[in-house]
Symmetry: C2
Subunit: 238 residues, 2 copies
DNA sequence: ACAAAAGTGTTTTCCTTACACCCATGA
DNA sequence: TCATGGGTGTAAGGAAAACACTTTTGT
């Protein structure tokens, strides 16, 4: 029998980011895609990813591509899931058992207005509305689905919405975000209002803003200090 | 500049399992540990893990060690988190930047009575109560903490308790499990009772069991069919 | 004046919480 | 008969759901 170590798979580890944003004007959830240049799936859209370098942590790699693709002020980032079956990357020829490609995916949220895409003239890069995502390279469709699931879950019990919304927003904006992610029937608007305001971490800036017809709305701001005080108590945004 | 591929880290990927169980007799949460034999940390306790082999999926590797260490009838298994910083394994010498060791951790639940440890006479293997876990190899203490956090969270909104309890159990057993994991003050017993029974997936087997003094209790059974019907509706076990 | 959106209030219902209390057994 | 744990019931308070209604703007 060959020495045990020869049975072990050799891995390259990639980091793939599911980066969400929301276009408040069009009321659409967006995901950042890049056009692949390299060998497999060249010319196809994919999640922005990279292979992990020597001495680099997974999270550092995630931040690196992020910084390569967009300029942003604020960001939310957390690990999503690790996809590692054999055959997820054609570079590992199915019979030769060479190098395995494993993908550690990260989930990120940025503000649309603050996120400036870095177009280098070579690589395609674009925000895609979730309903119009094209075919993706590798198993990136699965990763995207998993990320979207996470977004829906997190909206219900954590304040991630405020990492996607502009710094100041109306309660209508907030409600629209929730409806466009969670569907129309998640809650009545007025109940949603009172519930969120009662939580006590939204401060009215006093500034009013008018969008077309209708009564002008107050701009609110997420108060992270107030939130920090309640953060271990269970909380429902539904 | 050297070709780009030489900058990439070469990985070995390990799978480490946080396997929980509960000893109903002593009312203690247990975690499965094994004594390391190999090179780094030899003679120290660690989470049961293995390196992923050629052509083997991550989950398959997780099941493989599981099957190597215990015989079980029922098991719950899900991916936990991926720990991948450099310097988490001394085998990667800090300056030479050789092979990186990455750990994809899995979270598992088994029934104590049904789980038969496979002692091969060579390797130490034992259930440790959570309060008496010794020092662990690598960053396994961090992984264990993360797994315990997951256990606490899942108890609140998913029926994982029934993967740890015996097939039939009293409501007192169920309550004790919750208190030993979540602490004494998570809920009043009688309210816990009524809440759980109202959910509608616990069936009374009619069998009574007497444990020392006190009125005999009914044995209940988790009814996965009834649960499946309600599974997408939000549910609170608190 | 009217539509449209913001914002307030009310009612009904249901769930949570905190108990008090009865029941069946072992010692 | 008493301690012990199993099991039922209830009253107070609060949150959730549904909906009516008022306010302030643009057109």
């Amino acid at each position: 029998m060959t020495p045990k170590s020869t049975n072990l798979a050799n891995f390259k580890v990639g980091v793939d980011n599911v980066i969400f944003s929301v276009d408040m004007a069009q009321n659409r959830v967006l995901v950042l895609l890049v056009m692949r240049q390299g060998d497999p799936f060249s010319g196809q859209w994919s999640l922005p990813g990279t292979l992990v370098r020597q001495g680099e942590s997974l999270e550092a790699a995630a931040y690196r591509i992020l910084a390569e693709k967009i300029r942003f002020k604020n960001i939310y980032l957390e690990q999503l899931y690790t996809f590692g079956g054999p055959d997820r990357d054609p570079r590992e020829s199915p019979d030769c058992f060479g190098v395995r490609y494993l993908s550690v995916s990260y989930f990120a949220l940025v503000r649309f207005e603050e996120a400036q895409l870095i177009a280098d003239g070579v690589t395609g890069i674009a925000w895609y509305p979730l309903e119009r995502v094209p075919e993706l390279a590798f198993d990136h469709h699965q990763i995207l689905e998993y990320g979207y699931q996470r977004l829906r879950n997190k909206l219900e019990y954590s304040p991630v919405a405020f990492d996607v919304l502009p710094e100041t927003f109306t309660l209508g904006d907030l409600y629209q975000l929730y409806t466009s992610v969670l569907g129309e029937n998640f809650s009545d608007y007025s109940n949603f209002r009172t519930r969120l305001l009662k939580l006590g971490f939204l401060s009215d800036t006093g500034v009013k803003v008018s969008r077309g017809a209708g009564r002008p709305a107050s701009l609110y701001r997420f108060n992270s200090e107030s939130f920090a005080l309640l953060k271990d108590k269970p909380m429902v945004f539904i």
